[in-house]
Symmetry: C2
Subunit: 329 residues, 2 copies
């Protein structure tokens, strides 16, 4: 965790622990043990931290945003449980996924309960705040599901445009970051304009983050830091920004080669990566991905700049955002 | 539909149609077509009807409860989509289930969206009403998931007591009937005492309904009306009230026989049903099931009796409840 927000992170982690204590021994255990399990796997806790940061940004006690922070973290973990079923993923954070450790039925049902409990966390707020938060949260929850469905559709789609792709990652990943900040800002009772600006900041930060994550999968020079196999997206023929952009810009020969290599499941891994990578390099795809990420980073920072809050705190958040993105470079 | 509430049913069906129109062409289609599909399969629409009945019972315009009615119907249909995955059920209302018509991934995700949209329907109410309704609804949603998990656990449990079983059907089935009535009553701004009494009425009605449904599976004399294969629960060795009670009361010989026949997957259907049925008859299980249902019907009616509302309307609701149960006799 970045040092400047360590106190906020500690605050959330204490809240999470006190929530988790109530899960122990709760019946039926098959519903609540998976919840405790996935919440104990760790993770960056970025979304709850953003909720606390936003509340603090508007000079209110960040404790006010703790129930919002828990809501977004529960929602995020619900989505991980269900997404891991959809992706048939066996491993999450170096541990078996819920549907592997238990079974698919338990993963579906314990995910459902976590989704309801994420909404329930907001019941700790007064009438007006509860409704305002619930509306933001419900809208976001639906968008995240829509993004996940679009992502699944892309797997078999013949053509995906860059615009479609940015729309998909906006829904699947970025809106929940915007929502986390906005909910924390609602807890600080700030203006509608500030709410919108902080939301747009988070959303475009999320888009930039995902674009750089795509780049990193193929171009990381620091395997250990990244912790994933380099070229996994190429091997899986995943339609990331890189591939979509390459398909868009390629001439006939390059397009033919891309389609050929991506369609090959039996080719040696190294050969497939090498060939696709050489086309990416011919088309300067790495640079184009960075430029697209940079564009969204700038939109994010413009929105942060418009937020009415102390320059000191805004600068701190800007540094935090840039450090987050830097890890993706 | 029972004649006396036809106007309320029509009111709800019109509301449902106007909701469904908005689903047409909504993207991504894989999320919203299954929602339209399951909502178009029909069903009794009992839960939304109960919400409207409760609002009308306290002399308020039943239109006030339309958003609550839609919420409980959406929730019920979400639970059908996910339960059908859990039960690996291929058919629902004579049509393919969502995971069969599309696939499991789409069924998980479209169910998730319906769950969120059920909460969202309540956003049409003012602050205080929204929060009150959301709390009731969230609590109920969690209980329904707990009941579903308990039901799954019973499949492999060595021993299930009658008490456990009643607890399971209370959560899985009965609380949503109580919740539907209570939410409609909240929309009528009635007293806390009335809210509790109408809830308990619905809950115990639901328990009685499920017990008689268990009985009907084995003892129905009207195959056509029931529309299911008689003895399906015995063939599946399902731990219903009948089997649990029979295991509780059986002597050593009967218990040995029950365990033997229920463990046999290869025995001819007729033989299995005949043998288990003869033990049920020796132990008078049909009568005991009716008595248990009768007990809960009486508790339900006692609670209805305590509700402060016009005798005429309470009598109408009593007749409706008894007719519902009669179909299960």
């Amino acid at each position: 965790m970045l040092n400047q927000y360590q106190n906020l992170m500690d605050l959330f982690l204490r809240h999470l622990e006190s929530y988790k204590i109530n899960l122990i021994g709760k019946k039926p255990e098959e519903l609540y043990e998976p919840e405790d399990y996935i919440l104990s796997l760790g993770g960056k806790r970025l979304r709850p931290l953003l909720a606390l940061i936003a509340c603090d940004l508007f000079d209110k006690n960040p404790k006010l945003a703790l129930h919002s922070a828990l809501a977004v973290e529960l929602f995020h973990n619900f989505s991980l449980i269900h997404d891991d079923i959809l992706d048939a993923a066996p491993i999450r954070r170096n541990m078996p996924t819920v549907h592997k450790k238990w079974n698919t039925n338990i993963a579906i049902l314990s995910g459902d309960v976590m989704l309801v409990k994420s909404f329930q966390s907001l019941e700790n707020y007064g009438f007006k705040e509860f409704k305002k938060l619930s509306k933001i949260f419900n809208d976001t929850a639906i968008q995240v599901c829509e993004g996940q469905q679009m992502d699944m559709n892309f797997e078999t789609a013949a053509h995906v445009s860059v615009e479609d792709y940015i729309h998909m990652i906006t829904l699947k990943t970025a809106v929940l970051l915007g929502c986390s900040l906005k909910m924390g800002a609602v807890n600080a009772y700030t203006s509608e304009e500030n709410l919108n600006n902080i939301y747009e900041f988070g959303k475009h930060l999320g888009i930039a983050f995902q674009l750089l994550d795509d780049k990193l999968d193929t171009f990381s020079e620091n395997l250990e830091k990244f912790g994933k196999q380099i070229g996994g997206d190429i091997l899986a023929s995943k339609k990331t920004f890189l591939l979509i952009k390459a398909m868009e810009l390629s001439d006939d020969r390059q397009k033919k080669d891309l389609i050929k290599y991506l369609g090959l499941k039996t080719i040696a891994s190294d050969k497939k990566i090498e060939c696709v990578l050489s086309i990416y390099n011919e088309l300067n795809i790495k640079k184009l991905c960075e430029q697209e990420a940079h564009k969204h980073t700038n939109i994010a920072l413009d929105n942060l700049n418009k937020v009415e809050a102390s320059s000191l705190k805004k600068d701190q958040l800007k540094i935090f955002a840039l450090e987050l993105l830097k890890r993706q470079v």
